[in-house]
């Protein structure tokens, strides 16, 4: 089937099987390998993308669901003020080690800041609670996420 959507601000029209996973389209066909596949069943968050302003698991999104959607992947976060704040805070805070989980966390945190102006720690824990990071033990990410929330406010 032909599907049309807006990807990181650019219109995309492509042919895909309706049951093809969005994360595979990104990685294998659209040249955007930022989203990763850690589990393929919605249990690690490494494939997270923003669909119409909310974070979703790219491995659980069949192509037919993309029709008409506005999609931001990790590669497109730099164009969002929230995304820039998260990138800065996560980088300066050395939030990650191997970094394979980083795109998922960064996207999810950006989506949280798009929804909540002043997320508290519970909001952050809930928004990031479905993401596996095997390297850090999470605290470096939580510290940097709190910093991102503060920065985002300052930047407003």
């Amino acid at each position: 089937m032909t599907i049309r959507f807006v990807l990181n601000g650019e219109p995309v029209e492509m042919d895909a099987r309706p049951d093809e996973r969005f994360v595979d389209l990104l990685r294998d066909r659209l040249g955007l390998p930022g989203a990763k596949v850690g589990c393929g069943i919605g249990r690690c968050g490494s494939c997270t993308v923003i669909i119409d302003d909310v974070a979703m698991n790219g491995c659980l999104l069949p192509a037919y669901k993309l029709e008409g959607r506005r999609i931001t992947t990790v590669e497109g976060l730099g164009s969002l003020p929230e995304g820039r704040a998260v990138i800065l805070a996560f980088s300066e805070g050395n939030a990650f080690q191997c970094g394979y989980c980083a795109p998922g966390f960064t996207v999810a945190m950006t989506a949280l800041l798009m929804r909540e102006d002043v997320p508290d720690e519970a909001d952050i824990r809930e928004a990031l609670g479905g993401h596996v990071c095997r390297c850090t033990g999470y605290h470096s990410i939580l510290r940097a996420a709190a910093d991102a929330a503060v920065r985002c406010q300052k930047d407003d």
């Binding site: 919605g42 690690c44 968050g45 974070a55 795109p103 609670g129 999470y138 470096s140």
Partner: protein
């Protein structure tokens, strides 16, 4: 989502009636999809994918929450869980439902998933909450729109949702005055349901219960109401309720199944406990079992009079030393390229055919049909292996492709390179392998019985190591206190986020490029050359960066398959295991059973210890024997024990295959040792610190294996710091609501680094001035996340006197580096630091000489600084007189300075009984935990690690290793085990293997470091890659013991056993 061979037909009905008609038309060939999250789990687990997908998302009328005229609340079936979770109306009116919704999936999943999907699945986590609210459902059926009571509907048939479309959930206006909901899981959050329980109570004006709804469900438990128990509540106030008999009633009527994760008994009890606790009945202690009481030391342990100085390793406390990792921004931006991210136009897709049987003889392999499939470019089997059909770091007993038999379910039998995933998948199914199934051996002890089936012809005993010193039996005979137990450790999975994969391609020069993340590129090259029967120089290995390794990429993974495929197809081939294949095929931590007997005298001095360990090595040797050897090196932990007898055996079985994992036997052994120490301290009537103080090794003591060890023993100092911690004074004992019991536990670690004395272990590096003026630092090291790039920059910059940014690390590529040894065994910190110390001065002198020549000055007048060469007498830093770039430009390639080094990793010389480490680091770990008396689960509140490993080279690296190792250790202790039954894995993915999530990490973690080395200690910083995991399990065990008086000896700790011992359920009848 799993793709079927034919694309499904997607239907987008615009009306509910249309959806219903489609469902009627296609029957079982159709499936209604809303969020499509749960159904995909089923499909991934192998359920057939239907041909017709009826997507409801255009039915906008089915979305939203409204208050009905009668006060009821109507929730459209397509309302997403996050809309419910964050919606104002639900939050205000139905907080219990809001809470229940928040316990389903993750934030991302709740954005996709719908309430209707959760309910229609028939096993959704929210159903018990809805039953407790006495909810109704609106359905579209043959009769049009109908309203039914949810409970009545669920009990009407086994498949109540078949042939109907769920339109809405309606919560009636009269809401219960008291509610509770609880989801019990395998970990603290984002977990499969073990069981969910909910209750709703309605009262009359006098406070008597007039209506009660008690419900359970979730996971494998069919949703049900507990009618008899509900009945028993009617007409009385809660204050008059006999909670014990309520529990008995509830247990009596629950119909709950068991599975490999939790027993039915456990599920029933925690559900009943949760309802009672939720309704205010407190903790239901079982009358028979339940005498266990809190058992706090209630004291703050003895102060240890040893001076020490430590820093908290954090950005806040060490802000002036905080540096950004050179790779972090690219990683955060998604711009960092992993080897599994590469796609090229002519690249083929590889797949591996796995055995599927844990033990079988191969009678024949026929690949002709697969080869004939259009789009298939190469099929390889053992017949394509020209060289040694085997690999293994110690013994190469693992075939690249099995020829005569398979020994575990993940054994590679064949591989395919095709033009697309689909073709590869199809081709895989066309390979015919005839097997004769053989009896299996799935237990290490049974494997060593004389009549056990043989995994390898050489016998199942892979290693039998031991040591005896002193007069063990005599010492036990005069002991005042003896503790004996059997400690069990789990088959932990590395669960690196980037599964094994990469690509390979033939090079124009006739060689081969293999890009697969590993932990020692040069050894990978050696093993691969041996398989391909080519010179090592023909192969270039790129083995970095890696999306995590932890020991699990130390052995070869997919390199043999990729290499053979690329050579045969003559094209680039990529391949990455999906998570299930990674679970199936990849190495695991080898489970151990450690029998330990330890004795002390009346004063609390350790006098004897006996250890008998047996490990399940799985089907192949890999590093298994070295793990057992390392475990045995740590049998006395950080203590002096004069009389010791130790034995460790490793058996081949058909249970996957075991190998290296962070800790490498040390943390397994310390779990046992430190628990024994804690228990002996109790018996001797000493607090855990005092007992340790009198038994610790002293500076200058020989190592356990008789080896000389490096100076800077910090056993007493780290212990003193832990003893002085403010953690001991925090809240302990029974929590205010009676539900939790809080305890604090201590354990200490002595962790070696390096490969040991018995194996060659060397390091090397090359520094040079590159054409662009960067100082290139070439190391055969891998960036596996630990931060070796930052470490290299810091080490080299410190010695040269330049900035980190002036240094460009070049790593993980056999074409560009020198062999620095493996990125394992906490050894790379030392290797990098030592290399910089050795090569730095030489390079520095050469740079200055070259600059002096260029500038017409004397070397002595010049000095290296940020970005280049300065006047040595300058006292303000400014721009260099000559930048590195300008210097490089002025020199021809041959004149550009460089310096190389090669050295042996420090080992102890002299008589050593075994494989002994020379370098060690120390830690003293404190855990503060809360034991939940409703579920038996352990929550870690605080984890403090007081460490001593020499200078901190990079603040983020150091704290990252200790924190990350710590949480991996908590996984080992509390939730992680790769379940395997009859040689076949029950754990398949992150839905059935429980890595810690954010909610499982301790609420507070602190890392402390003692940086100072003894005067004259020339060995610099010790690596801390493993220190963070070393003593976590026994610290948690001690904290649990402090809280509830039970020493748990099997990891992961069984909540069921804890619940029995704390009185939350009765022990099952024998």
């Amino acid at each position: 989502m799993k793709k079927s061979l034919v694309a499904p037909q997607i239907w987008h009905p615009e009306e509910v009636s249309e959806a219903w008609s489609l469902l009627k038309r296609f029957g079982k060939a159709a499936r209604v999809l809303a969020g499509g999250t749960a159904v995909q789990l089923d499909w991934a687990a192998g359920a057939p994918v239907p041909e017709h997908w009826i997507d409801l998302n255009r039915l906008d009328d089915l979305r939203g929450v409204t208050e009905l005229a009668d006060g009821g609340i109507w929730i459209g079936a397509l309302t997403s869980l996050s809309a419910l979770r964050h919606g104002a109306l639900i939050g205000k009116k139905l907080p219990m439902l809001c809470d229940a919704v928040g316990r389903v999936g993750s934030a991302g999943i709740r954005n996709l998933a719908t309430l209707g999907g959760n309910v229609a699945s028939g096993s959704g986590c929210i159903i018990p909450a809805l039953l407790a609210l006495d909810a109704e459902v609106e359905l579209f059926t043959a009769k049009g729109l109908v309203r039914r009571n949810l409970r009545a509907l669920l009990s009407s048939s086994l498949t109540p949702m078949e042939g109907v479309v769920l339109v809405a959930i309606v919560v009636p206006a009269r809401l219960p005055a008291k509610t509770c909901f609880e989801k019990m899981g395998l970990r603290r959050a984002f977990t499969p349901s073990v069981i969910n329980a909910a209750a709703g109570l309605w009262f009359d004006g006098a406070g008597n219960v007039v209506k009660a709804r008690l419900a359970i469900g979730g996971g494998i438990t069919p949703p049900q109401r507990l009618s008899a128990a509900e009945h028993s509540l009617i007409g009385i106030p809660l204050s008059a309720l006999d909670w014990t008999s309520l529990k008995r009633d509830m247990l009596g009527e629950m119909r709950v199944p068991s599975d490999a994760f939790r027993s039915a008994e456990y599920r029933r009890n925690v559900a009943a406990n949760a309802i009672i606790a939720g309704l205010g009945g407190g903790v239901a202690l079982d009358a028979v079992a339940g005498k266990a009481s809190a058992h706090c030391f209630a004291s703050i342990p003895a102060f240890v009079p040893v001076p020490y100085s430590e820093v908290e390793v954090s950005r806040a406390a060490m802000s002036e030393r905080w540096r950004m990792r050179p790779d972090v921004t690219a990683k955060v931006e998604g711009a960092f390229t992993y080897l599994t991210d590469i796609r090229k136009p002519d690249m083929l897709v590889g797949r591996v055919l796995r055995a599927g049987y844990p033990h079988a003889r191969i009678l024949g392999i026929d690949t002709s049909e697969a080869e004939a499939l259009p789009g298939v470019h190469a099929v390889v089997t053992h017949r394509d292996v020209k060289g040694l059909n085997g690999y293994g770091i110690v013994i190469p007993d693992q075939p690249a492709f099995c020829a005569d038999k398979v020994r575990y379910v993940g054994d590679a039998v064949a591989a395919i390179a095709a033009e697309s995933e689909e073709i590869a998948e199809r081709a895989l199914a066309l390979i015919r392998v005839d097997y004769e199934v053989l009896p299996i051996v799935d237990d290490a002890e049974r494997a060593l019985a004389p009549d056990a089936p043989l995994v390898h012809e050489s016998g199942n005993l892979l290693a039998d190591l031991g040591l005896e010193r002193g007069k063990v039996d005599e010492a036990f005979a005069r002991a005042a206190h003896i503790v004996e137990d059997v400690y069990v450790t789990p088959r932990q999975m590395h669960a690196f986020m980037e599964t094994e994969g990469g690509y390979a391609e033939p090079t124009p020069e006739g060689g081969l490029l293999v890009c697969v993340a590993g932990q020692h590129g040069y050894r990978d090259r050696m093993q691969l050359a041996r398989i391909l029967d080519v010179d090592e120089e023909c192969i270039r290995i790129v083995s970095s960066p890696s999306g995590g390794a932890f020991g699990g990429k130390d052995e070869l993974t997919v390199q043999p398959a990729l290499a053979l495929l690329a050579l045969k197809a003559g094209r680039p081939v990529r391949l990455q295991l999906d998570r299930w294949e990674s679970v199936l095929a990849g190495t695991k931590r080898q489970p151990m059973r450690i029998r330990m007997r330890t004795a002390c005298d009346a004063e609390g001095y350790l006098i004897a210890q006996e250890v008998d360990a047996i490990a399940d090595g799985g089907a192949y040797a890999s590093l298994g024997a070295s793990v057992v050897e390392t475990a045995l090196e740590h049998v006395t932990g950080a203590y002096r024990i004069p009389n010791v007898r130790s034995r460790g055996r490793l058996a081949y079985t058909n249970n996957g295959f075991g190998g290296a994992f962070r800790g490498f036997g040390c943390n397994e052994m310390l779990f046992a040792v430190e628990s024994q120490i804690g228990r002996l301290a109790e018996k001797a009537g000493l607090d855990p610190v005092s007992f340790r103080v009198r038994n610790l090794r002293q500076p200058g003591d020989m190592g356990y294996l008789g080896q000389v060890v490096a100076p800077s023993d910090r056993g007493r100092e780290t212990l003193a710091a832990a003893a002085a911690s403010d953690l001991w004074a925090r809240e302990r004992g029974v929590s205010a609501d009676g539900r939790k019991v809080i305890g604090v536990g201590l354990a200490v670690a002595l962790q070696g680094s390096g490969l040991g004395s018995a194996i060659g272990d060397s390091g090397a590096a090359r520094l040079s001035l590159a054409a662009d003026g960067k100082i290139e630092a070439a190391f055969g090291a891998e960036e596996i996340g630990q931060g070796v790039l930052a470490l290299i920059q810091e080490s080299v910059a410190r010695v040269l006197g330049c900035e980190r940014d002036d240094v460009r690390p070049v790593i993980g590529d056999t074409a560009k580096t020198v062999d620095s040894g493996s990125t394992t065994a906490s050894r790379m910190t030392y290797v990098v630091w030592r290399s910089a110390s050795e090569t730095g001065p030489e390079l520095s002198a050469k740079l200055l000489a070259a600059a002096a020549k260029e500038m017409g000055k004397q070397s002595e007048e010049l000095a290296i600084g940020a970005g280049g060469i300065y006047d040595a007498r300058r006292n303000v830093p400014d721009v260099p007189l000559l930048s590195f770039a300008a210097l490089a430009q002025s020199l021809g390639e041959a004149e550009r300075p460089s310096a190389e080094c090669g050295f042996a990793f420090p080992i102890s010389h002299g008589t050593v009984e075994g494989n002994a480490r020379f370098l060690h680091c120390h830690s003293a770990v404190l855990a503060r935990v809360a034991v939940d008396r409703v579920t038996g689960m352990v929550e870690v509140l605080d984890l403090d690690q007081h460490t001593a490993a020499g200078p901190v080279m990079d603040v983020a690296n150091y704290s990252g290793q200790i924190e990350g190792g710590g949480v991996q250790g908590l996984g080992f202790t509390l939730t992680e085990d790769t379940l395997i039954e009859g040689g076949t894995f029950t754990s398949r993915n992150f839905d059935s293997y429980m890595v810690p999530m954010i909610a499982d990490a301790p609420a507070n973690m602190r890392v402390f470091a003692m940086e100072e080395l003894d005067a004259g200690d020339p060995y610099g910083p010790r690596g801390v890659g493993e220190l963070g995991i070393s003593a976590v399990s026994p610290a948690v065990a001690a904290a649990v013991a402090d809280a509830v008086g039970i020493w748990v000896v099997e990891a992961p700790f069984s909540p069921e056993k804890i619940l029995i011992r704390t009185g939350g359920m009765s022990a099952p009848a024998e």
